[in-house]
Symmetry: C2
Subunit: 232 residues, 2 copies
DNA sequence: TTGACTATTCATTCATGAATGATAGGCAAT
DNA sequence: ATTGCCTATCATTCATGAATGAATAGTCAA
């Protein structure tokens, strides 16, 4: 008797279909315009069924955001792991490119992040988001520490290692429309400014959110925020 | 805003209507024949709604049984409280009569008791039933102790006080069809036999059920079973 | 510009009954 | 007597969407 297992499988599959449909609609119409009914329609299920899977519409968005953050972190982790020892450029580029592969989607998630943070989330959701980001951060710290204390990092003080990573990728994303990634990397002076700037910026966000025990405003700290939590 | 309160009220009322309808149908058709759908029909609600109130059909029966036990205990308590000091006959008669006011209903509950005990109940249900019976037992013990150590009780050893009560009422109920209540009371010899017999009988039931911390098989114990738990 | 009132939109709840699957009774076949 | 199979019955589950009500937008008067 594995009828029960099958049922669980089908339930999981349906959950994924809901998420897929929600993302599609979000990309098509923007966050303001998407209704739960539309999502249900697209998945071809009843509106009430959505609420068997998610306690609120916000949770759907939250889940999408978390999935995105998770995939970005995975991408970066594997890029760091396969890069030449000390090469921070290649992984940063890989990360940058996977975000910029679909700029509309990336911008959508930036907006979702803002929206979700503005709403007051249920405590369990906050906890879950927090847990993901902590786990991402420490996973990244581990690969960074083992492989990155060389190369471009030599040019910056040790306690800016992780901020540097931030500066590279976040700065590059933000400059996406004005400069090329190569330009960002080449401009060492500008990079240092970025590092400082982004470090402070992360501190701002982190304080405003009350989400993280990791204090990115203190760059000497060994556990900075994780990429993906920098939206906005 | 007490819309919420109103909603709770309506929910409670509906629960009572379900119980009423179930009892009606049980009396009309007997336990074997009553279906959840019939109950729902009579209350004029959907079948699924029943399950918003009760986790199973058995729980409905259980609740009816508990309500009956509770009302019998109340009846007895008030009869003891208002009887002449030392008069066990009047309260026993009152109890007997309230059970025999509707013999069909009383027999129905005897059968329900059997049925429910035969089924293996959910642990929470067992716990609830157990709690009710314990509370009934100690409430009765209190009124008995304060008012009954005289009269007919003088004729039996002290540690049979509560069994005596049992013998009177339970014996009378069981003899309902053959003897009158007065005959049962008058027949002192037969009464003593009853006392012993019922004491053992209660012990049997109690052991078989694993329901009660009170060991009615040990009559010297100060917390015997409560009336209503003697069905069957 | 502000407040008060109404209309509209849409997230969320909840009663519903069709669908599911467990159980029991009948009926052969061994 | 026992086993397997079929069927019917009925307890229980679950997707559903109509109903609810909260939030927002729109309208008008002061």
């Amino acid at each position: 008797m594995d009828k029960a297992k099958e049922k669980v499988q089908r339930f999981r599959a349906r959950e994924q279909r809901i998420l897929d449909a929600a993302l599609e609609l979000l990309l098509e119409h923007g966050e303001e315009k998407v209704t739960v009914e539309q999502i249900a329609e697209r998945v071809d299920i009843g509106k009430g069924t959505i609420y068997k899977h998610f306690i609120s519409k916000t949770e759907i968005y939250m889940r999408l955001l978390m999935d995105y953050e998770k995939s970005l972190t995975e991408r970066l982790k594997s890029a760091v792991a396969t890069a030449e020892q000390g090469d921070i450029t290649a992984p940063a580029r890989a990360y940058f490119e996977s975000r910029m592969a679909d700029p509309a989607r990336d911008r959508l998630f930036q907006r979702l992040e803002e929206k979700i943070i503005a709403l007051n989330l249920a405590p369990e959701m906050i906890a879950e988001l927090h847990a993901l980001r902590n786990s991402n951060a420490s996973a990244l710290n581990r690969v960074f520490e083992r492989r990155m204390e060389q190369g471009v990092l030599k040019k910056v003080p040790a306690y800016y290692y992780y901020s540097t990573y931030w500066a590279l990728v976040q700065g590059a994303v933000e400059l996406y429309h004005s400069k090329s990634f190569a330009d960002v990397i080449e401009d060492r002076e500008g990079l240092m400014e970025f590092i400082m700037d982004v470090g402070v910026h992360i501190g701002d966000i982190s304080n405003r959110r009350h989400l993280s025990g990791t204090q990115a405003s203190e760059p000497a700290q060994s556990t900075p925020s994780t990429p993906g939590s920098s939206f906005g």
